[in-house]
């Protein structure tokens, strides 16, 4: 099935939905973006985002599997497997994948998240055939040898030391995830795995994970850039078409977070120079929980803490000068529940208790007094403008499509995003805030230079 979609076609409707006729309305003169989606007979979903702005093309294959699909005792397997995907197949020698991309003037890399694992390359259009052939090959024919696994385990552990163990903030974040989502629960385990588990993972562990989840019917192919849907269809049929579908068990995520909330997590660390106060609320995502709040929560995060004109920044940084920065964030593209996060960098001499009470009073004020139509509109405009600028970049499109489609969203959902954001009302924002800001859903965390809060 081929669907024709204009990613931001929906923007034209936002004016009709009552957005101000301010300068923002002029945003709508945007090149309509053609997005095409189809599915191969073996179940591989294909999305094409043509753009002729530069003679380059990117391929991304996203598997619908991430660290949250691991079982306790085998954590880290999704990420370790991502590394081993570069270590050869029946016909491609270890490390030859990336060497070949580089030799052909391209770049490649990969990532692992809680819900998905992605592999991507950027090349000149006439090398698309090459990278599609190689990506399809490792979808079906991966070989993992003990000889390659042993040094790569050290690489994986060094990556963890660099990203997590060397960083008190990252260590605290792992502890917060565990408190919020529950120990040994999908999002409660670190993406890179527990070190003791990683040290024990075997070739067999990695291969069974691969065979369980790496299949065309559990993947999405996204091709963006200087190409056509006809070309992509032809190449996808040729290279991915022959890869047989496999039975893949549906993924499960708990409907609830940890049972014993609220919690506090403190980390006092000699390596911390500047304190941080954060709060994390369990929140619905696009896919789990009270999903009807997912759009209002994006607007809420923006007006509350989306930059220097936001409520938190104005109150804590500009007016009371209690803080050096203050942010709110919310990412709805999650298969399970997600979190709504607040983060404050206290000013020197600001006690944590004062930060906490200042944030509390801002949240209370928002619930009690409501939000104005004007600030909702400004937040919507910022969100929509961000989407337009993202369109100007070749890399941001595939990333956001991959994040959403890998957790079960559709191209139609992406198309409808501008209207859904524009349709959010002040009442929706308050309803979403009331739903999420509850003591039985929160973890408060503090990072301090020495023991206790200062």
């Amino acid at each position: 099935m081929v669907r024709r979609r204009a990613l931001l076609g929906g923007l034209a409707a936002t004016a009709a939905l009552g957005l101000s006729p301010s300068a923002f309305a002029k945003l709508f003169i945007v090149e309509r973006r053609r997005v095409e989606a189809f599915t191969l007979a073996n179940g591989l979903d294909v999305v094409v985002l043509p753009s002729s702005r530069a003679p380059i093309v990117s391929q991304t294959v996203v598997y619908k599997v991430g660290s949250a699909d691991e079982v306790p005792g085998k954590t880290g397997v999704a990420h370790f497997l991502e590394h081993m995907m570069f270590k050869g197949t029946a016909t491609v020698a270890p490390t030859e994948f990336s060497r070949t991309v580089s030799k052909n003037g391209g770049r490649d890399n990969a990532y692992t998240s809680f819900d998905s694992t992605g592999y991507y390359q950027t090349v000149a259009p006439d090398r698309l055939d090459l990278v599609m052939r190689m990506e399809a090959d490792r979808m079906a024919n991966l070989r993992i040898s003990e000889k390659e696994l042993i040094p790569e385990r050290q690489v994986v552990l060094e990556e963890r030391r660099m990203r997590i163990d060397n960083s008190p903030a990252a260590l605290l974040e792992e502890a917060v995830q565990e408190q919020l989502f529950g120990r040994h629960k999908p999002y409660g385990m670190p993406i890179s795995g527990y070190v003791d588990d990683v040290k024990k993972l075997t070739v067999n562990d990695l291969m069974s994970f691969y065979l369980k989840f790496y299949a065309p019917n559990n993947a999405i192919l996204i091709v963006a850039g200087d190409t056509t849907v006809e070309q992509v269809r032809k190449l996808a049929e040729r290279h991915y078409g022959p890869v047989p579908a496999r039975k893949v068990e549906p993924r499960r995520r708990p409907a609830e977070g940890a049972a014993d909330l609220p919690q506090r997590v403190l980390r006092a660390d000699a390596r911390v120079a500047e304190p941080r106060w954060s709060r994390h609320y369990l929140a619905p995502s696009y896919r789990k929980g009270e999903t009807q709040h997912a759009y209002a929560l994006q607007v809420l995060a923006h007006l509350l803490g989306g930059g220097e004109t936001s409520r938190l920044w104005r109150a804590l940084v500009a007016d009371s000068k209690l803080a050096l920065s203050a942010w709110a964030s919310y990412s709805p593209a999650s298969l399970g529940l997600t979190s709504f996060d607040l983060s404050v960098h206290p000013a020197p001499q600001s006690p944590m208790v004062e930060i906490e009470s200042a944030v509390g009073s801002q949240l209370g004020k928002l619930i009690d007094d409501g939000v104005t139509a004007d600030e909702v509109e400004r937040a919507q405009n910022r969100l929509l403008a961000g989407a337009i600028y993202a369109q100007d970049s070749l890399s941001s499109g595939p990333r956001s499509y991959g994040a959403l489609l890998s957790v079960g969203g559709s191209v139609a959902d992406i198309d409808a995003w501008p209207q859904r954001i524009a349709a959010v009302t002040p009442i929706d924002v308050i309803a979403a805030a009331r739903h999420v800001w509850r003591p039985e859903r929160l973890v408060t965390s503090m990072l301090t230079p020495q023991a206790g809060s200062r």
């Binding site: 000149a124 405009n381 070749l394």
Partner: protein
């Protein structure tokens, strides 16, 4: 457009000889402001990249950090608009204006939707002509910079980077932290910031690049409105010449972390050196690009000693370095460094293989295009070409320059640059088995 941009990038990739296919227009305004323009009819936005001569390396004595702090504050209120109002005007126009300072230049960028560019340039004009430096914003930004310095002082990678600059450029202005010292920062007044702005914001030495759906005359008018009122001025003097180190150094900075970060530096060649493209090829073979380099292969693939092992070329106005970076568990970092040094020696003694040179050239020919995936990226390329004193038709010649690199050139440069006898090594962490200089 996108025929022009397309032609531009195609030229980089495949049509090196097709001079004239590239259409970078050089616009000179009635008031004498010069800009490079790539017209891109498909872009809904205008991207502007510009810079003024003089950067943090010319911070006046006792005022370290003044250029960096001033750059941040340029968008914190101007003319009749206090910080919040100024920011809201940007948001209402979906415009984004920012300034930053490097060692040698004060740079700015403006991104605005085509429909709102009048407003975007008005905000730019205000920021340049009437920055406010309100006392409360000065305090806020100062506190943020000091906090960031404190934080950087605990982050192994930042400590390593700072230490490397301090050692390699000891006695030269490049040695100072561009963000300043907390003591100097605490003493800076709004008057200091105003003076610094006046000393740098001038038309002489100004470099401008634009990408968007805009006619030349229209761009000229807008540029004059924003930059025209600035004085012509005399740019700050260049930093003095740098005397590269003449002996090896090993420095250990202790931090309580499980993994040590290592940086190694060698004096290199600047962007205007005739061997520049040879240096690009040499660097690519040693530790550049993705996952094919010798350092990546030997340190990571074969031995699992690190997640990353790479090298890069850094060219400043008055100095250049080849910097190697890796990070390994405290117990293994000595071995990682040993492997890096062995690779330097091997490449210096034996040179590269023909295949390595060929592959590096293919990659380097294509790699530039890969990064040109947004209007802002193209604008910043046009800007840096001017900083580097290149001609507008340089992109049509670039592939030829890369193609002309011969294996003997790479051998020669390897012998000239990869000299352990002037290698500076900085290790941050609790490394085992590394002996620092006495």
């Amino acid at each position: 457009m996108s025929l022009l941009l397309r032609a531009l990038v195609v030229a980089i990739l495949w049509l090196p000889a097709a001079v004239g296919a590239v259409d970078i227009k050089v616009v000179t305004t009635p008031l004498g402001v010069k800009a490079w323009l790539v017209q891109d009819k498909s872009a809904p936005a205008l991207a502007l990249a510009f810079s003024f001569a003089g950067g943090t390396a010319s911070d006046p004595a006792g005022q370290s950090g003044v250029t960096n702090l001033m750059a941040t504050l340029l968008t914190d209120g101007a003319g009749p608009l206090a910080a919040h109002a100024f920011r809201q005007r940007q948001e209402d126009a979906a415009a984004s204006l920012s300034f930053s300072a490097s060692l040698d230049r004060l740079s700015g960028s403006l991104r605005v939707l085509s429909a709102n560019r009048e407003e975007g340039f008005e905000l730019l004009r205000l920021a340049l002509a009437q920055p406010r430096f309100d006392a409360d914003m000065v305090e806020q930004r100062r506190a943020q910079v000091v906090a960031a310095l404190n934080q950087a002082n605990q982050r192994p990678a930042s400590v390593a980077a700072r230490t490397l600059m301090a050692i390699e450029f000891a006695g030269h202005p490049y040695a100072a932290d561009p963000d300043g010292t907390p003591d100097d920062l605490k003493r800076l007044t709004p008057a200091n910031l105003k003076q610094r702005a006046a000393a740098l914001l001038m038309r002489s030495g100004l470099i401008v690049a634009a990408v968007g759906d805009i006619e030349e005359a229209e761009l000229a008018r807008l540029l004059d409105s924003a930059f025209g009122a600035l004085p012509l001025g005399t740019p700050a003097a260049l930093p003095p010449d740098w005397q590269p180190p003449v002996k090896p150094h090993t420095i250990v900075v202790e931090r309580p972390v499980p993994q040590s970060t290592a940086l190694m530096a060698l004096p290199s060649i600047t962007r205007d050196d005739p061997d520049w493209y040879v240096a690009l090829v040499l660097n690519h073979i040693l530790g550049g690009g993705g996952q094919q380099s010798r350092l990546f292969t030997e340190v990571r693939e074969k031995r699992g000693l690190a997640y990353g092992a790479s090298s890069s070329l850094r060219s400043y106005r008055k100095a250049a370095l080849l910097v190697i970076s890796t990070a390994s568990a405290n117990e293994r970092v000595a071995e990682a460094i040993r492997v890096v040094r062995a690779e330097l020696a091997r490449l210096r003694t034996d040179g590269p293989t023909e295949q390595e040179v060929t592959d590096a050239k293919t990659y380097l020919s294509g790699a530039l295009a890969l990064s040109l995936d947004s209007s802002g990226a193209v604008a910043s390329l046009l800007h840096s070409m001017q900083v580097d004193n290149l001609a507008p038709d340089h992109l049509t010649r670039r592939a030829n320059l890369i193609a002309a690199v011969k294996i003997d050139d790479v051998r020669r440069l390897a012998r000239r640059l990869l000299r352990e006898e002037v290698l500076t090594t900085v290790v941050v962490g609790k490394p085992v088995g590394i002996t620092a200089d006495p």
